[in-house]
Symmetry: C2
Subunit: 343 residues, 2 copies
C-alpha cells in the first residue's frame, strides 16, 4: 500500500509549516531559496512528486472517513467496523469510529463531531428512520452512505442493506416449519428501519401461516441485557409459554439463551431460539445459534467501496443496494415437541 | 447532560463564521452592530453566556479524545471502548476510536490522524513495548494514558493496567492445582507488554511448581482465528498432547474451544481451557469460560477519569495504577483425568 500523499509529513521533514509547503508548490514569492530547496528535497525523500503534493493540498481531502455505529460492544457493529477499517486501509483512508449508544442526541452530536473533524464522508450503521441532521447532509450532497439501518426518506440516500423483512420472514417460517406456533419476538423499537422491517416480516410470516399475532409475546424496547433477560424469563415461566423466540439481533439472542439456561431449559428441546446478523460467536460449536446472515463482510466491503467512489465523484448515480439474507440453521432451533392444550 | 459550549453552533445559528463569533466576543472593531446582535442572540438562544463561549474559544480545547485499540472486533477492546464512551459523555467529551489492526505502521498513522484531528488527549489500549511516536508525545507532555498495554519505558507514562504477570500465574496455578502438567500457552508476540508479562507469569508458575518449560507447547505469533485453530488442533492430536490450554485472551480461547470441539474433545473432561480478559460472552452459561478478569469496567472508568484530569491540568502527578487480577473459575477447567505415561 502506498502511503497517502501528505503535506504534513513533508512539512515535518523539511522543518517548515504546512503553509510554507503550500507556498513553495504554488510558486509564491517571498519564499527563501533554501526553504524551497528543503521542501523539494523532503517531497523527494518521501517518494512523492511536487505535483502529487500540490494536488493533495488543492483537493483539501483529509482521507478520513467517519463511521457511526449504535453500540460498539454489539459484535455486529464491531465486526463490520473491523472489516470496513481493513478495506479502508487498502484505499489509503483512515476511519474514525463514533458510538452513539443508540441515543438521538448522541447521534446528532456525532455527526457534528465528524463534520468538525473534516471527514471526507460518513458511513452510518445506525440511525432512526427520521433524522433532521442526516437529511440536511444528504440535501447538501455530503458524501454519505448507510448500511444496516437507513432513514425512511431514502429517495436521495445511498445505502447497502439486507432485505430485513424477508430475513425475518425466513427466520419465522423456519420456526413454523418446525411446528412452532407461539413465537416470541424480541426487538428494539420500530423507530429503526431494521427493527421496523423485521417486525413486518415477523407479522407477515405469522399471518401467511394463519397464526394470530399475540402482542404479549412481543418485546420492542431498549435492548439492554437485563431487560431482555427479565422479559424472556417472564415469558418462559408463563403457563401458555412460547415454544420459540425470534431475537432480532444475535447479540440479544445470547441474552435469551441465558434466560433459557437460567430457567433450566434445554435448547432446542424445550425452546428454540433464532437470531439475526450472524456475528462470529454464533457459529461457535458451543453457541451454534441459528440465525439470518446479513452478509456482513460483503456489506462492509461494498459500503466502503461505494462511499469512496462517491467521495471521488466517480459516479453520479445513487447507490441503493439490497443484499439477500441467508438462513443459517444451526443447533438452537429444533422441532417443537411441547404438548400443549389448544386453548 | 449539558451540551458542550460550542462556537460552531453559535456561528451556525447566527449565520456567521466562527471567527466572527470570536471577534464579537473579543470586542474587536469592524464588526457590524447587526452581526454582533445576531451572535449574542444566538448565544442566548443556545442557553449559554458570552463568557462561556469566549472561554471555550480561548481554551482551544476540542473536547474530543482519541482511543487507539488493537482490533475492535476483539470484544475486550469493543467492550472497554463502549464503557469509555459512556463515561466520556458524562464528562461532556467526544471519543473517536481508531483501530490499528495490531500493525505498527497503522499505529503510527493513527497517532498522526488523531493529532491532526486536534484531540485533547489520547487513550492507548494497544501499543508495542517500544514506539518512537508515543515516546515523543510523552516527552512533549501531550495528554496520554495507556490501559491494557503500555510501553516499556514507562517512567514518564500514565497508565491503568492489570498485573498481567500475576494474572497469568493465577491462571496457570489454577490448572496445576487441577493436576495439569502439560499446559499449552497461546499468545501474541512478546513485543506487547501484556503478552510479555503473561508469558513471564506462565513460565514462573511452571518453574515454581517444578514443571519443565516445553517450547513445543507455546504459540507466540499473530492471533488470527485460523492460525490458532490450526496450532491447537495439531497439539491436541499429538501423542503426548497437553491436557490444558492457557489462552492469553478470551477471544483466542474461543478459537481453542472450537479446536477442541472439532477434535471431538469434551471440555473440561478431555481438555481444560482458561482465558484472560473476562469478555461478556465468557460468562454465558453456554461458554462458561474460566478466565482472569481485567476488571474492564473499572479500568475503563479510571483511564477516562485520569485522562481528563490530565487534560484539565488538575494533577501534575503521574498516574500509574496497577489493578489486581481476579481468577474466575467457570466450567472450562476441571481435574486432569488423563492417564499418561510418565515418559
Amino acid at each position: 500500500m502506498r502511503n497517502r500523499v501528505n503535506a504534513y509529513d513533508v512539512a515535518k521533514l523539511a522543518g517548515v509549516s504546512q503553509s510554507t509547503v503550500s507556498r513553495v508548490l504554488n510558486n509564491y514569492s517571498h519564499v527563501k531559496k533554501s526553504t524551497r530547496e528543503k521542501v523539494l528535497v523532503a517531497i523527494k525523500e518521501l517518494g512523492f512528486t511536487p505535483d502529487e503534493i500540490a494536488r493533495s493540498l488543492a483537493s483539501k481531502k483529509t482521507h478520513t472517513i467517519g463511521l457511526i455505529v449504535g453500540d460498539i460492544s454489539n459484535p455486529f457493529y464491531a465486526e463490520t467496523a473491523h472489516y470496513i477499517l481493513r478495506e479502508a486501509r487498502e484505499y489509503d483512508y483512515d476511519v474514525i469510529i463514533v458510538d452513539t449508544d443508540t441515543d438521538d442526541s448522541n447521534f446528532d452530536r456525532s455527526i457534528q463531531t465528524l463534520i468538525g473533524k473534516r471527514v471526507d464522508g460518513i458511513i452510518i450503521a445506525s440511525v432512526r428512520k427520521t433524522n433532521q441532521k442526516v437529511s440536511e447532509l444528504i440535501q447538501r450532497d455530503f458524501p454519505l452512505i448507510f448500511y444496516n439501518r437507513k432513514i425512511d426518506d431514502d429517495g436521495q440516500a445511498n445505502f447497502v442493506v439486507i432485505d430485513n423483512e424477508l430475513g425475518a420472514k425466513m427466520a419465522v417460517n423456519h420456526l413454523i416449519q418446525l411446528n412452532h406456533q407461539r413465537i416470541a419476538y424480541i426487538s428494539g423499537p420500530c423507530t429503526y428501519s431494521t427493527f421496523n422491517d423485521r417486525f413486518l416480516g415477523y407479522k407477515s410470516a405469522l399471518e401467511e401461516n394463519g397464526i394470530n399475532y399475540d402482542e404479549s409475546l412481543v418485546y420492542q424496547d431498549e435492548l439492554s441485557y437485563e431487560k431482555v433477560l427479565e422479559f424472556s424469563l417472564k415469558l418462559m415461566r408463563d403457563q401458555d409459554r412460547p415454544t420459540s423466540f425470534f431475537a432480532s439481533t444475535d447479540h440479544i439472542a445470547l441474552a435469551v439463551m441465558d434466560a433459557a439456561a437460567q430457567n433450566g431449559f434445554h435448547i432446542p428441546y424445550n425452546i428454540s431460539i433464532i437470531g439475526f446478523d450472524d456475528i462470529d460467536i454464533a457459529s461457535s460449536p458451543y453457541i451454534g445459534l441459528s440465525t439470518i446472515s446479513q452478509q456482513k463482510k460483503k456489506m462492509a466491503s461494498l459500503v466502503l467501496k461505494e462511499l469512496i467512489s462517491i467521495i471521488d465523484n466517480k459516479s453520479d448515480e445513487l447507490i441503493q443496494i439490497t443484499l439477500e439474507p441467508e438462513l443459517l440453521i444451526r443447533k438452537t432451533t429444533g422441532i417443537n415437541v411441547q404438548i400443549r392444550s389448544n386453548g
